[in-house]
């Protein structure tokens, strides 16, 4: 596919096609859109030789996030921004809240060739998207999630989950519930956090009660609802392991509203160490969020300088014991 092909298929002259692809003036919005659509459809990439934007000269990095109002993503982008600023790189921010936004983003980016590198924050990249990025020839780094293909910075979810569940088991809990989180818009699923639960229970020869495993999407309200289900059982769990702090916050609210106490009646543990965790005295597994963002940004800077950064950085996690976990009350006490 050449520029002439794009021009022919879009029904415009060569000059117009070039101007549209290079975002230059003198092209109507409708024409520009048509040219871009043709280029995207045929995965046409502006030739480095033919383009003003050759050789990494855009000096821009795309940061792609599913959310920004959630602390994890905001803190991650904040920490990247500092590294990119130091390196003289501008950040083009793309939020792909849903499937449509995501599709548009990956379909248009290659044709537009707006950036030298892309950081996917807490987002998996599927094979089709990967192909588009390859055609475009940009560097890609994944932050806050493992990736089989791209350099990435993440935590070990299996280890984070183990720290949380082992803590509950060591306190003597056996009736442990898990609130698993899943997010259709956020393709990085921390499966390790679920696996860790089953592994720890098996290691301690504790049978998992399937009613005690509840799958929900991320968020405090979802955690509140899931806990309501758990409290509805005649034999509720004595401890709840939540995949994230925000889910744990919701669980704590539900427990308190039901007239029960944390941790005397039910223990709760999360993962993150969200800034609010210390305020509500939540026991949690801390993950270095700013650290992950900085490391991912440094990977990008190294790649753009032609250096060879590590392919994968795994950041350590730490159990932070606060006042939301304690030894379980004896069973018969619960009926008082």
């Amino acid at each position: 596919m050449t520029l002439a092909d794009v021009a022919r298929l879009a029904g415009v002259g060569l000059g117009t096609a070039s101007r549209a692809l290079n975002d230059a003036p003198g092209v109507s919005d409708a024409t520009r859109r048509r040219v871009l659509e043709v280029a995207a459809h045929h995965s046409y990439v502006v030739s480095p030789d033919a383009s003003r934007l050759a050789g990494g000269a855009t000096r821009r990095v795309a940061v792609v996030v599913p959310h920004l109002s959630r602390w994890f993503f905001g803190a991650m982008v904040e920490s990247m921004q500092g590294v990119f600023f130091e390196a003289g790189l501008d950040v083009l921010l793309y939020q792909v809240k849903d499937g449509e936004a995501r599709h548009t983003f990956f379909a248009e980016l290659p044709a537009l060739r707006k950036v030298d590198a892309l950081v996917a924050v807490g987002l998996d990249i599927d094979d089709l998207e990967r192909k588009r990025l390859e055609i475009m020839g940009v560097h890609v780094v994944s932050a806050g999630g493992q990736h089989a293909v791209y350099p990435h910075v993440c935590i070990d979810d299996l280890e984070a989950g183990r720290l949380a569940v082992d803590h509950l088991l060591a306190l003597g809990h056996r009736a442990i519930a898990m609130i698993e989180t899943d997010d259709p818009d956020q393709a990085v699923h921390p499966h390790g956090r679920s696996k860790a639960f089953y592994a720890a229970m098996t290691r301690h020869r504790v049978e998992v009660d399937p009613r005690f495993v509840i799958k929900t999407s991320w968020g405090a309200e979802q955690g509140a609802d899931a806990s309501g289900t758990l409290l509805g059982y005649t034999d509720p769990p004595t401890a709840i392991y939540a995949h994230s702090d925000e889910v744990a916050f919701g669980a704590i609210r539900t427990i308190r509203r039901a007239g029960l106490r944390v941790p005397e009646d039910i223990s709760v543990v999360g993962i993150d160490d969200h800034p609010v965790a210390s305020l509500v005295d939540l026991t949690t597994v801390r993950q270095p969020v700013a650290g992950q963002g900085e490391a991912a940004a440094r990977m990008v800077v190294d790649l753009l300088r032609g250096e060879d950064p590590p392919r994968a950085v795994t950041m350590p996690t730490t159990l932070i014991v606060r006042r939301s976990t304690a030894r379980p009350r004896r069973r018969r006490d619960l009926s008082r």
Copy 2:
């Protein structure tokens, strides 16, 4: 100042100066930096006629924020992003965490001419910065703060503060403390939230105890410390009015850690309706954060389309009564 002047002062040829200013390849980093410094120092602006980037053709909007890991800013940028995405505009994100980053940003932006418009989120713009933006000829909108010169979207801080303080007064509180917040990095000071306190107290003929007014910077830890001071008095306040929810969260933690109860011993009210507020049952004054972001982004889109949006949009605030406020206990009860 002409392009020839810039070239002469930077000690380079006309073509090199032009390429450096237009971010084109074929210029070393050191030379590019020197040219940009000269251009910035003399407030040289790339002539619209001489530049490829004429007539708003960058299709990029700069969003400038002091913080991103704080919910207010993340939620604001998230909501803007949606409007800009719809309008086909890219977002260049700039975080100006401190004075130096801010200075660099405003010094370099005019010479680089990277954007068609700029949204300052929760940031005041001083006269020098305003002059640079004027030279650049970009549209400027202020979000989350009033501005005398630029179109802006904000809440009425005086009204928000009145709602919070009147609520405490109506419950019968007289010994009311205020935790005032101030942020050296964030030039938009919600002075109205302080004024509202003094006005409401005067209206109810209640004398303000100067020991009960504590000035601190934004943040939960700061709120926790300020509350520690208040609880140290032999006659502590019966209610605390915090300028933001995050400050109120810290206050609640300190009160609970001191073995006192919220609201039985001390009432606490904030401003924001942060997502965590409902989880900790905080009474607060809700401000529409996503609404402000969307309105500001729409203002930008209208300005770029040559339309004439309203100069100022003030969003309504609402008192949300939860369980952190109640009637004060009688004085003698406090000593129990």
